[in-house]
Symmetry: C2
Subunit: 351 residues, 2 copies
């Protein structure tokens, strides 16, 4: 199938601002002013020019404009993994903020690989983006340096070790865990397990610490046997939950370091004919889009993704304006109560 984009007769002159100017009998400067909404042009002239523009289907050449203005109105967005459903909403939100300002976004993902991060940043720079949001879970300074030497504003996502050095959107895990423990305690739980992630992962250790702190704050004892490690994926959650369930004394509620592992935990419970939430309560973390679609719908903790995106975007804009980015309180995680939590079943207390 061949779609002739150029009709055969088209001996057509390139359609540029000069054509419009001629046809409208004004100068290119005036056309340009109309295009850019300058106020210094009579309404009558402006209307006329706009009519001609529409007539000719004139579309300004963005490259010429950008070249002249020295900005591309293009932002780069780098995420860990577009297939991780945490990110699409973040991307979406970032993108719509950009669209509102007539800014376009190109984005790439690193697949959790720092080598790829380096390339991603490089590509963004080669594209002459105006600013870059690096919303990945891990980051290395070498990659970031490139942007710095190219004088391109950056913003990171919750990279505590770079705090003060690079602009950063800071996220608070504690609040969600405090709310979760509060919720469980009110329901009557005292025996609470945790499916942690590997210690090699930054965010995983932070979550575990937040869990432990929240336990203490609620006057609950930490039981080492009730903290098991999973691989942050469904399978790991299932295995971890099996370990937990196989113990002589079991917790009545289990938190997981992310929703995928909570899903696995749910499955392990099903497989063992343990009802959720009647026999055991489960809480996840992330509030992935699927969380509400599980059986039962999963109580979980949520990082407000749209807010993260909004703040990252605003941060970059502020930097571009040359203004000081005001310090902002961390973005807080919140508990989202659904149906995987309920009062514990009556039975002998395990302590």
């Amino acid at each position: 199938m061949r779609l002739s984009i150029l009709g055969p007769e088209q001996r057509q002159v390139t359609m540029d601002i000069l054509q419009v100017a001629k046809r409208a009998k004004v100068s290119t400067a005036t056309v340009s002013r109309v295009l850019n909404g300058s106020t210094n042009v009579r309404e009558k002239t402006s209307a006329h020019v706009r009519r001609v523009i529409a007539e000719l289907n004139y579309i300004p050449n963005r490259n010429a404009r950008n070249l002249r203005v020295g900005r591309t109105r293009l932002f780069g967005l780098i995420v860990s993994d577009i297939n991780n459903s945490f990110f699409p909403e973040l991307i979406d939100a970032f993108e719509s903020h950009a669209a509102e300002q007539g800014i376009e976004v190109i984005f790439t993902h690193t697949n959790y690989d720092l080598t790829r991060l380096h390339n991603c940043v490089r590509r963004m720079i080669d594209r002459n983006v105006d600013a870059i949001a690096v919303m990945t879970s891990e980051v290395d300074e070498k990659s970031l340096k490139q942007a710095i030497t190219a004088r391109i504003p950056l913003v990171l996502l919750n990279q505590r070790e770079f705090e003060g050095k690079y602009p950063n959107v800071v996220v608070e895990y504690a609040t969600g865990f405090e709310e979760a423990l509060e919720h469980l305690q009110v329901l009557g739980h005292h025996d609470i397990g945790f499916i942690a992630g590997p210690n090699s992962l930054n965010s995983a250790v932070r979550r575990k610490e937040a869990f432990q702190a929240a336990l203490r704050h609620h006057g609950l004892r930490e039981r080492p046997k009730w903290i098991v490690v999973g691989d942050m994926r469904v399978e790991g959650g299932r295995i971890a939950m099996e370990t937990l369930l196989s113990q002589k004394s079991r917790p009545t509620a289990v938190l997981a370091s992310n929703d995928l592992m909570a899903m696995g935990a749910l499955q392990a419970a099903h497989a063992a004919s343990i009802r959720v939430p009647e026999d055991i309560s489960i809480i996840g973390f992330d509030d992935l889009p699927v969380a509400g679609m599980m059986y039962p719908p999963l109580t979980t903790m949520r990082l407000p993704r749209r807010e993260i995106a909004a703040r990252a975007f605003a941060n970059l804009q502020t930097q571009l304006l040359g203004e000081t980015v005001p310090a902002r309180p961390p973005i807080q995680s919140r508990l989202v109560v659904r149906e995987s939590t309920a009062p514990p079943a009556m039975r002998t207390r395990s302590i």
Copy 2:
């Protein structure tokens, strides 16, 4: 927090190709040739220039280049909904093909709204993209016309009504359904239900037709009561499944028009204490990333998303080269067997 991007002392001349040329003691033409990998430059010169480029941290101005060359090496990608997990893999694949060719992708989503489609196309054109892939489930000609008048190559996803008019990546639902029925028949099923989507949705009616055709081909009777309509979401699937399960005579296997409804069906079965797959088999469509994470992992049909992306991308490239796009056989859906299907339970045959 204020990160000074420009150090205070930086009274720096804009770093352009001329600076590089001076420093390397060659002309800008030579630098440009090195930059673009022209063969007509002595290896020694080339190496020297590259060294200087690296030394000066010179990054070419993409706008100037694009302006001169008349191409942006930017493609537009429009999808229905980035939060629908069908799309991220498609986006990913499209993007990596592009990256290989030094092409960047900007993308937007319509949220299934044709008004937004119009804007999306418009934005792409305003950005002077070289080509646009419109990978949405619905499409209207008015939106597409914009691209045509702007002489920008397009490619659509499975829009049969525009076939022959616009380049199109065609997808075949039939194969998947034939394989699914084959699979069920081999397992011993004869009584097969279907959770359809609304008739207002193109893809939903196609899937239903494919199901009906496959039924016929396998010599199975269609039972109108066993075809129920859902809203293509989890909740609709659950309700539809409840309807199906409430009938005096039930199918032993149920196909759903998409995975979300299959998830709902799974939940309805759990809630009614009907085991899957022992008591009833369930098959979805789409092979969303969650399909394998369900309990039990869902047997489903898969549209090869990476292949769709690859073909769409290749199609656009071919058009840009001014070549004829060869007709290609439709992309086939395939059955992915997991654990939600098994032989039917022994019981009185219902026919």
